[in-house]
């Protein structure tokens, strides 16, 4: 290594020298023949109007889906809506920008000064949430192209055990917290990075993306909508907003007769049975449990905050500058040569190591500030989930779980109750 050092040094100097003098090595010729300099054509991006058209399409699609789910009560209509959304937002507009990913743009814009969010991205983030407040998760039912492709391929639904279902339901929360954290610190957009279906929409992607997407689709034949249920970070927000929705899809068009025909048809385990008076628990026990869980909420939040505070340096490795700084430091400390392309480019560019390490410290301290909030969010979610498990809602009929229900309309045809005739 030491023997080679002078040669390496000379090579570096040569590269620096060359990059410094790469221009005007040969003077521009003076042509006698009246030669005209051609100009390389630089075609522009297609007009921004297309993106505004997408927003209009989003509003229209959401309105139609709400009508189909709540008023018309037509599963067939919802399926056609899915086909349309898959065709337009997915295959034609190629799935970018989507509401799911817009979470990151919002977070990037909120916490960074040098990025201002495109209005279309902000609208794509807000509009489905507003619709969720009025009509439940109609965005999932027939507008989201990611949901649509899974809805159309989920042909043989199986039910998963409750425990699996509830454990897996935690994953989207973690995904959302990390996605917001990484985009707020300007590290990476992980939702886009691990988008399963955009490669299928474009018929062009790195093979890992295609493999992941196809596997999800295959699994989705039996376990419907695996991405929506166990991964989708935007679904967390929709779930939350839908719980407080003004109106929501109903299983029965009139009064529920508790015939139990719809009990097992929901592949998402989103149908809540009516209360069984025989199963009524002792009040004092349930109340005790409720208060215990309520006490646990701040504890969980604090624990989450502390845990993520300590994980911050590890998480900051998502930022490319931190990774580069670590590689360079490793080279300095243990003599393992930094050979990654980033390290080579760093050496060629001639920035000082102090600058790099200073930047690294700044990024890590940003993570130290931001990560605890992600932890608090996760702890709060877990705590509130427990609390909601300890509360008992009174239901006289079968009703969809407003948070979990995708408004897919599978349950409509199982309800024998006739809709009241309106004249």
């Amino acid at each position: 290594m030491i023997k080679k050092a002078p040669y390496i040094l000379v090579l570096f100097l040569l590269i620096l020298h060359l990059s410094g003098y790469s221009q005007d090595r040969f003077p521009r010729p003076e042509f006698d023949s009246g030669y005209v300099y051609p100009v390389d054509q630089m075609p522009n991006q297609r007009s921004i109007m297309w993106e505004y058209l997408d927003v209009a399409m989003l509003v229209a699609a959401l309105s139609v889906t709400s009508w189909l789910a709540l008023k018309k009560r037509s599963r067939k209509g919802l399926i056609w809506m899915s086909v349309f959304s898959l065709a337009w937002f997915g295959l034609y507009r190629q799935g970018c920008i989507c509401s799911v990913g817009s979470v990151q743009n919002v977070s990037l814009a909120l916490f960074n000064t040098n990025y201002s969010i495109p209005l279309t991205a902000l609208l794509f983030f807000l509009i489905p949430l507003v619709f969720a407040l009025f009509a439940g998760r109609v965005f999932c039912a027939g507008v989201c192209p990611l949901g649509a492709i899974q809805e159309l391929t989920g042909i043989k639904p199986l039910k998963l055990p409750r425990t699996v279902e509830s454990v897996m339901a935690a994953v989207p929360f973690i995904y959302l917290a990390l996605a917001v954290l990484f985009s707020a610190t300007d590290s990476r957009f992980i939702i886009c990075r691990y988008d399963p279906f955009v490669g299928i929409f474009r018929l062009d992607a790195p093979y890992t993306m295609i493999v992941f997407g196809v596997l999800l689709l295959l699994a989705g034949i039996f376990v419907n909508r695996p991405y929506c249920r166990y991964l989708c970070p935007y679904g967390v927000l929709l779930n939350l907003f839908s719980r407080f929705s003004h109106r929501h899809l109903t299983i029965t068009p009139a009064e529920c007769t508790n015939c139990r025909l719809c009990e097992d048809v929901c592949p998402y385990d989103a149908i809540l049975p009516s209360d069984n008076p025989a199963e009524k628990e002792d009040k004092t026990i349930s109340r005790k449990r409720f208060y215990l869980y309520l006490l646990l909420v701040p504890l969980f939040a604090a624990a989450g905050g502390i845990a993520l505070f300590n994980l911050a340096p590890a998480l900051s490795g998502m930022h490319s500058d931190v990774r580069l700084a670590r590689e360079i430091r490793m080279e300095k400390e243990s003599g393992i040569e930094a050979v990654s392309k980033a390290a080579v480019a760093f050496k060629e560019a001639g920035n000082t190591e102090e600058q790099l390490f200073k930047g690294e410290t700044a990024i890590i301290s940003r993570f130290r500030k931001a990560a605890p909030w992600a932890g608090v969010f996760l702890g709060l979610s877990l705590g509130l989930a427990l609390v909601s498990m300890a509360t008992r809602t009174r239901r006289t009929g079968y009703a969809p779980h407003r948070g979990k229900c995708f408004s897919c309309g599978r349950c409509f045809r199982y309800c024998p109750v006739e809709a009241p005739k309106t004249v």
């Binding site: 390389d40 807000l126 407040l133 407080f244 480019a345």
Partner: protein, 191 residues
């Protein structure tokens, strides 16, 4: 019994309404908070040719095949050399258009005689796959008039550009939609 039920009902209503208010609040606050940081037009991705190190990852990391990045030619910077570092392989025996002499793996550069001793080099963007070999060659031995740019009509404008993630020199970044290209020419120099 009915009284008790009512009590429950009102408590439930209270929780529900508080929850609703808590949830609507950020929904309203968000556009207000972002009011100043919203732009009507969007962003596009572009390569800063002055930062680019021609590592070749534009070819391999774009989600599109072939990559949306293409080589472009700043003719005003070109030396119109006969012995072109971007067109010819190093150490060629004859300076000719023979395929064995060409540096470009896809033969995307055409060489045309202008006048003694000058030659014009044109990039066929249909053939170019953004490997950056010619850019490196021109930068090392010539004026550096060849450079890589994301072709905006091809770019899918991903929310998170995969080339930007992998670019070792941070040359790929969001630029306002009005900019679209970062051209390289004599006047701009290193901007």
């Amino acid at each position: 019994m009915s009284k008790e039920k009512n009590k429950y009902q009102s408590r439930r209503d209270f929780v529900r309404n508080t929850g609703k208010a808590l949830i609507i609040l950020p929904l309203v606050a968000l556009p207000v908070a972002l009011a100043r940081k919203t732009s009507a037009s969007g962003y596009v991705w572009q390569i800063d040719p002055h930062k680019c190190t021609q590592c070749g990852q534009c070819k391999t990391h774009c989600v599109l095949t072939p990559s949306a990045v293409k080589c472009v030619h700043a003719y005003v910077m070109c030396g119109y050399c006969d012995l072109c570092g971007g067109y010819l392989r190093q150490g060629v025996k004859t300076i000719s258009t023979g395929a064995e002499n060409q540096l470009c793996p896809t033969g995307a550069i055409t060489r045309a005689f202008v006048e003694e001793p000058y030659f014009q080099y044109t990039i066929d963007k249909e053939l170019c796959d953004a490997c950056g070999k010619c850019v490196l060659g021109c930068g090392n031995f010539g004026n550096g008039s060849l450079y890589l740019q994301i072709q905006q009509n091809l770019c899918a404008n991903c929310n998170d550009c995969r080339i930007a993630i992998n670019c070792p020199s941070d040359a790929v970044s969001r630029v306002p939609e009005a900019v679209q290209y970062i051209p390289k020419d004599k006047k701009q120099g290193s901007e």
